[in-house]
Amino acid sequence: MIKELREDRGNVEKNVRGAYEEAQRLQEKLNAVVTFADIDTQLKELPEDGLMRGVPIALKDNVSTKGLRTTAESNILWNYVPVFNAHIVDKLKAAGAVVIAKTNMDELAMGGTNLSAYSGPTHNPYDLARMTGGSSGGSAALVAAGVVPMAIGSDTGDSVRKPAAFCGIVGVKPTYGRISRYGILPYASSLDHVGYFTRSIEDACIALQVLAGRDDRDMTSSFREVPDYSAELNSDMHGKKIAVLGNVVRNLKNPQTIAAFNHVMDELKARGAQVDVYDFDEDLMKAILPAYYLIANCEATSNHSNLDGIRFGNVQKGETMEELMKNTRTNGFGPLIKKRFVIGSYGLFEENQERLFRKAQKVRRKIVDAMKDCLKEYDAVMAPASDNPAPYLDDNSADELSANYLIVENYMAMGNFSGYPSMTVPMGFADDLPLGLNMTCRPFEETTMFDFGKAIEEITGSKDMKAEVE
């Protein structure tokens, strides 16, 4: 889609305006947008050329946009207008992309449902009664509904890859350091990744081409050269080795998910790939979620200490500076955020840190070591992104201590622990709702990941698939 739009030079304004109006038309149904952008100015300032020239896109509302409100769906930032652009915003604009909207998300990106958004949840374009998943739900919904061909998200646990699965689109989380995080409102710095959604692997290649590269303002961003992802794309599966994540597959319950996954694996085999079931230590797999939860909340409570109302944000009055800060934070954060801050602080207290935060880091290292071992032998680790398609908005049936929940629904944080590139692609349907397949590859081998994605796209015929929203 990106290439077609780029080459449709005579209809740039029509295409951009069309996307903008479509997003407005769907707003009441999807609630995918927090703030609409000024497209006229952007159209006037459009560069002559660029890989995404004239392509309408959307940004998750935790991406700083100069002069454009950036709330991260938190009351505390409801009036916050950044004075600078995130690195990727400058890159996208230089490539000619036009931002039409800032999208809905879980408050401060902390959540996997998009239910904790201050302005209310985003609805799944395939079934408005269902959730998009989160935290990048608004971006996923706009791409799935065919409004924009690409939208930015962020992924700390699976915040791009889970909604991609629930919305039937491609969700990419490249290697840690591949895309600069400068200007992305943080959740947990060591786990945060800039990610994005598209409806085809080809678009995913173009998008990464634009987004990737060293930024001196992010010391964790990589100096590695950015390959020409589109030119290197090759769906030939001969000689490719795939590890199927046994711990996940064995704990699946939904027969349609199992069938869809097996079908894709069989077809990959038929195309020449070697597919083996590979098991990680089951206890280690069960430890992913608690370790993730601790590390993420510990870092988050510190990262968000700047939200005190002194310099920006939705400030509340107080007799003293301390009182002002307390009132601002008490008023500004939702209950789930407060819960996470309390847990994070608890994990960092001197008397707890060794047995909680530091121990979680040790678990993280063990998991990364296990992944490294696995990927020495295999080119990718694959498993369904979820057992079931998108849950209903009011669903709270998850058994949080079951292996099904602990492993199947939360294993994708492995990709954040390791920073390895990870991607979800559509793999079929269950009761007319999309299902996703997740894969993780070796660091900076996004090319390999896209090759697998392309092959699966050919198998499922999911290229440019979109939901018709009535």
Binding site: S190, L307, I310
Partner: protein, 474 residues
Amino acid sequence: MEYEATIGIEIHCQMKTVTKMFSGAPCTYGRKANTAVNEIDLGMPGTLPCLNMEAVRKAIMACTGLHLTIDPLVKFDRKNYYYSDLPKGFQITQQFHPIGKNGYVVIDTGEGPRKIRINRIHMEEDTAKQFHLKTKTLLDFNRSGTPLIEIVSEPDMHNGQEAEAYVEALRRTLYYLGVSDCRMEEGSMRCDVNISIAPKGSGKLGVKNEIKNMNSISNIGKAVDYEINRQKTVLENGGEIFQETRRFDEKTGTTVMMRRKEGTVDYKYFPEPNIFPIRLDPEWIKDIQDNMPELPEVREERYSREYGLSAHDISILIANKEISDFFEKVMEYSDNAKGVCNWLLGDVSGWLNRHEMSIENCVLLPENLAKLVKMVDDGRINGKQAKELVDDLMEGKDPEGAAKERGMEQVSDEGALRAMVVSVLDANPQAIEDFKAGKDRAVGFLVGQVMKASRGKANPGVVNTLIKEELKNR
């Protein structure tokens, strides 16, 4: 009962860098509030730190000059607390892996030189500046993010004089290395002094009090001595010492309680996730160490060896780096180190003080000072006349020309002076009689007469010799 005081000092020193510790905003002093800041210094959401390697270089110089062992793996941690002058809600510091460990400085005490151990030096960032008014607080973020080193001593000091000498020794080293401008009055060097007292020989440590807010080195000694006496008085009257933060009040010369410390604050330190550990190249470290400016103690030793100056002169000369640097420039033109040193520490410094100027921004030329010293040494002018030339000299004038202009060049020509001596002797037969009768002061009288005849221009030394010679012939 006799008590012994134990003193440890923590010093925060702003490093002299062009930009801040983790942002590209400029480091400034005295600029209009909030004009030297960017989004990073304000802790805006989504900003990330980017380490200033120039600050690391300066910290390595400080560690080297103060004999600390350098950790080549640079790591940073977060210190978490809420305060209105701390924009991110945490400070990036080096809690777990300071850049330097286990060093020392040598101080001069009444009983000779003594080593004061330094526990650690770590890098961190400064906070914003607060101005508390009656109904509001103003915040200036220009200082926010300025690179700091914190230098933590071992509790090796026992009185105000030692505390003062320690801070002075640190200041001198950091200043010579160009690590910091060390201006206590501007806050680029800030000292927190911890003091406790316990019965002498008990081997125990008392409850410690921390003193802040000393804006000069001499105040440190005053504050420490006051605090030791205060604690002593409390204990002698059966009272109890509480752990407190106190500030030094310059007007009254006393320490005043700011707040009582109850329990310790949990700063929830953890490694900074946005800065991966940085392995410093040993070659880079070595290059920094090999190319450091001269340390003051090395200069001391060199002045003694090269110029033969007394320890006292050297220590005064070196205490002011600019004067000392200027001294060396003058010595390129002079071979009288003692003479140059006296002039610099005496008349030149006096003139600069009167005019509120410093040696680097006045127009005095090193070669002119050398020339003036030489003119005196050669007896072309006398000391009193030389002093009259100070204004000219300090205004950049050549002392030779100035002396001529003022008609004060001494006559040292033997032929001319001998003629004058002969005529004075002829005119004063009584004085010759007195001399022969053993009255030595007659010579003084005759010298005076010659000086008078020459209108002060005669070289008194030469005149003295000539008179003695001529008297023998009479």
